[in-house]
């Protein structure tokens, strides 16, 4: 370990122990980024300070400007954007006053970046060794570069064997690839590292390991880190401070424990209530509506239209910052009001009273994609009138199983039956009434609606396929279907691109429910949505399931959601069902090793756990 890093270690420890007295190593002043063409602000008035070795979690939902801010910290702006005001001081140098050439020089040495997707950030045609050495081009001397490479590889927990160094990115796992990009970021001992959701594509166990590495390295080397994430649980487990962004502004900045245990801003409160709790103590509640786009944010507080505690004054001007505690700042006029933050307590699932009938029976199903076997002898029974979940990591075969059931995948062996009737492999081999009886809601609402059809046309298309409907009957059915999922009937003439992700997913649900299916399959239906929208959709599905006595199969990788919506769960791993049973039993006392690992490694946070010092 080099002398610089050792100094960082000392400072980092000092910082953790005592009160903060250092001059911040990174400070952002009044940053404003505009769309060049229209001068509409994307982010505005952002002020942040980071100490050495500090990890700041930058949290917000999609479109809130967190990535724009993260890139601006590297002196970079996306095409069509312009930084019009403010300063970004890193170690005393203002990045915004540097020329492109100077910026190119400080990137990597003063500031560094860890991308979201390592698979696209690494060059697939170059060996790992070549890429690592390339990242260290500024270190003089071949021998010194190699020495540093071995050092950083050890730091991130990767081997420096010839076999590893000679490999290509595709030969490494996702976690290893991300470690390589982290090693590259740390290689030149920068002062600031910006990490853009670096664990989003990883499974929970790998994510837990990568987060450990990041936490340790930042502390040891005294590097200030901005960790961009939409996942509050990850930030809670990693960062010392958190900045929550909404519609291009920071709305609450403070120590992670304080912000998450007693949030002052109504948006942050809503966000925390919307995070599903794997331990099943809290109930889920979403935030109605959606964030305003740049240019449509109005005069007053940007959150006012969605705020449950809005005051008349909120509509007049954007609220000034209020310091509620040391280092804890909130942009809300009611920040100092003494209202306690409470989450809804979840009522435990009551044991079933009536005898359960089997709706769907899966017997010894194996499935293949070409040569590779994805499902291995899966047997499963789904009870009628209940929500059952299939949970597993990516590649566990859960989506393939769902597709086999829906008839979207036909390369399979084994027996499938719905309410006692045999289901052939592949939807075209099934009679119309069985095709109608199983409806499938896809993961990505941006892809499951034909962009050239209006919402009304999309909803009515399967209806018309199964029934002869007059125009007025069809209109009536579409209207009813949209109302059931709490969408305005006036949306029928809109096109999918005019709707938000949550609205589109509701349309997809409406389209499926309009056919009155016996079994509704929801395949990761919320994984492409923001948490606050996810919570709203989950509430909706739970309500529809209860009211209609719907049999639902909920496929997800998110254990916490399973707890919220399902009664029974089957855990899948490597194409097999490793454990199944009532949700509360399985998650509280996991028996299979895979389940235990999943339950252990999932990042979690509990507002109650961060108790304030008296």
């Amino acid at each position: 370990m080099g002398p610089l890093a050792r100094r960082g270690l000392v400072l980092g420890l000092h910082h953790c122990d005592g009160p903060v007295v250092d001059v911040p190593v990174v400070s952002v002043r009044n940053l404003r980024v505009e769309v060049s063409a229209s001068a509409v602000d994307v982010i505005d008035g952002v002020n942040l300070d980071l100490q050495r070795g500090e990890i700041l979690g930058l949290v917000g939902e999609s479109g809130c400007g967190k990535t724009t801010l993260a890139l601006a910290l590297l002196g970079y702006r996306r095409r069509g954007l312009r930084i019009t005001d403010g300063q970004i001081l890193v170690d005393g140098r203002d990045l915004l006053s540097l020329s492109e050439a100077e910026l190119g020089h400080v990137r990597g040495s003063l500031v560094a970046y860890v991308p979201q997707d390592p698979a696209t950030a690494l060059n697939p045609a170059m060996r790992i060794e070549t890429q690592l050495l390339e990242a260290m081009a500024r270190i003089d001397g071949r021998r010194q570069r190699r020495a540093r490479m071995v050092e950083v590889l050890a730091d991130v927990g990767l081997p420096s064997t010839q076999a590893f160094l000679r490999s290509y990115p595709h030969q490494l796992s996702g976690g290893q690839q991300q470690r390589v990009t982290i090693a590259m970021a740390f290689a030149n001992r920068p002062r600031l590292i910006v990490m853009d959701e670096p664990t989003t594509g990883l499974d929970v166990t790998t994510q837990a390991h990568v987060l450990d590495t990041v936490r340790r390295l930042c502390k040891e080397q005294g590097v200030a880190t901005v960790y961009v994430s939409h996942d509050l649980a990850v930030v809670a487990s990693l960062a010392q401070r958190v900045a929550v962004m909404y519609a291009g502004r920071t709305v609450e900045v403070g120590p992670v424990g304080e912000v998450l245990s007693s949030p002052r801003h109504p948006y942050v409160r809503g966000l925390i209530r919307a995070v599903p709790d794997v331990d099943g103590r809290r109930d889920l509640r979403g935030i109605r509506g959606q964030a305003p786009e740049p240019g449509k944010r109005g005069e007053g507080c940007f959150f006012a239209p969605r705020c449950p505690d809005v005051l008349p004054v909120c509509w007049e001007a954007f609220p000034p910052p209020v310091d509620v505690a040391v280092n804890h700042r909130v942009w809300c006029v009611r920040a100092l009001e003494d209202t306690a933050f409470e989450t809804d307590v979840r009522s435990p699932t009551s044991p079933s009273q009536r005898p359960t009938q089997v709706m769907l029976d899966v017997q010894g199903v194996s499935a293949w994609y070409g040569q590779s076997q994805v499902l291995r002898d899966v047997s499963l029974a789904i009870a009628a009138g209940e929500c059952s979940a299939i949970v597993g990591e990516s590649g566990s075969g859960k989506t393939t199983l769902a597709r086999c059931i829906a008839g979207l995948h036909s390369d399979l062996e084994g027996q499938l039956s719905l309410a006692g009737r045999h289901l052939a492999a592949g939807a075209r081999a099934r009679p119309p009434e069985l095709r109608r009886a199983i409806q499938y809601v896809f993961q990505n609402p941006y892809a499951s609606l034909n962009p050239r059809r209006t919402i009304g046309e999309s909803v009515v298309q399967p209806l018309r396929h199964f029934e002869q409907l007059s125009r007025s009957e069809a209109d009536e059915r579409v209207r009813t279907a949209l109302e059931e999922v709490a969408l305005r009937p006036s949306l029928v003439d809109r096109y999918p691109h005019q709707l938000s992700g949550g609205e589109r997913q509701r349309v997809a649900i409406a389209r499926a429910l309009a056919l009155s299916p016996q079994l509704l399959i929801c395949d990761e239906v919320t994984s492409s949505l923001d948490v606050s929208v996810q919570a709203v959709i989950i509430q909706l599905l739970a309500q529809l399931q209860r009211e209609r006595g719907l049999t639902m199969l909920f496929v997800t990788h998110n254990l916490a959601l399973v707890r919220t919506i399902a009664r029974r769960v089957a855990v899948m791993s490597e194409g097999r069902v490793v454990e199944s049973g009532l949700v509360d039993d399985v998650l509280a006392h996991p028996k299979a090793a895979e389940t235990q690992r999943l339950v252990r490694d999932i990042p979690r946070f509990d507002p109650a756990r961060f108790s304030l010092p008296a």
Partner: protein, 323 residues
């Protein structure tokens, strides 16, 4: 749930979206290169359409000695048989334009049908269609057309069919690859799950979603059609003398290019301008279909540096757009 009813934000007012191809055309027409292309091509189309009316003399009327130099009676002189060059050129553009348009439309329709069928049905259907088209592609294009025309004779419909036959395999490949991508979309899977007939899926789900690449291809094919048809009529397989036609005029008068270059030069210039114009416009279509170029406005300097996001890639793709 009542609260979310009220809270949904209203987008732009509900009105029907114009079809994709109109959107793409309109976006292409407001770019710089699109305007230039439209202007050039429009000029030639106007000449071809209005030419027969504006021509001062009949295209077959003799006005002087063969290859007479420009004079007051004949602005660009006389041709090989002593007819007015200006009048023949003005009267000779309509055929080439009509034939090119018909041949392109025919070729794109056939190619699209074959390509979508191959791409969506997959398996043996795909193999049979694509391998047959590969064989057709292996022939040198103009030779294939010449072969057809020389067997049957110089019929105009045959010229169209021959040129269309040249285009179909290439269009089919583009349509097939776009179909393969569109067929993977979840909205197509959804229609499969409830059992919509295959022909309906191809017609109502796939086709509307591959319009953009097909338009790009159509623009390109139109350019090729013009030069192919001009070549065929130059070689004597299109319109027959004494009918005025730009290809025919070039061929008739090339022997005297030194004594009176006008009858050769003018049709060449007109065909070249038309080709450049169509090409520019089809390039504008390609860019607007791929969403590369924004309408005229202040150019944005790209703050490059690190390769993050799509900015860098779209920039470099703009340079490599098909021409």
């Amino acid at each position: 749930m009542a609260e979310s009813l009220n809270a949904q934000t209203g987008g732009p007012s509900a009105r029907r979206r114009p079809p994709e191809w109109i959107v793409v055309l309109a976006r292409a027409a407001v770019t710089r290169r699109g305007r230039l292309g439209l202007a050039l091509a429009g000029l030639i189309v106007a000449i071809a359409l209005l030419g027969p009316i504006l021509a001062p003399k009949s295209p077959t009327e003799f006005v002087g000695m063969p290859f007479a130099p420009p004079s007051g009676g004949a602005v660009f002189g006389a041709d090989v048989l002593g007819r007015d060059v200006l009048s023949r050129v003005l009267a000779g553009g309509l055929a080439i334009l009509t034939l090119a348009a018909i041949a392109t439309a025919l070729g794109v329709s056939i190619g699209t049908s074959l390509g979508v069928a191959a791409g969506y049905m997959k398996g043996p259907v795909d193999e049979v269609i694509m391998r047959t088209l590969d064989v057709a592609l292996a022939f040198p294009q103009i030779i294939l057309a010449l072969l057809l025309v020389s067997i049957v004779g110089p019929e105009l419909w045959l010229v169209c069919v021959a040129v269309a036959a040249i285009h179909a395999p290439q269009v089919a490949r583009v349509a097939r690859s776009a179909t393969l991508r569109a067929a993977e979309e979840d909205f197509v899977r959804h229609t499969e799950a409830f059992g919509l007939p295959r022909w309906k899926i191809m017609l109502t789900e796939i086709l509307p979603n591959i319009v953009s690449p097909l338009m790009v291809e159509t623009g390109l094919r139109l350019t090729y059609s013009i030069s192919l048809i001009a070549s065929l009529s130059f070689l004597g397989f299109g319109l027959q003398p004494p009918a005025p036609d730009w290809g025919v005029i070039i061929n008739e008068n090339r022997i005297a290019i030194l004594s009176n270059p006008w009858p050769v030069l003018i049709p060449i210039l007109l065909i070249a301008t038309l080709t450049v114009g169509v090409n520019l416009f089809s390039d504008a279509i390609a860019r607007s279909a791929l969403g590369i170029e924004a309408p005229i406005g202040p150019a944005q300097p790209n703050a490059g540096g690190i390769a993050v996001g799509a900015a860098g890639t779209t920039r470099s793709r703009a340079g490599a757009a098909p021409l």
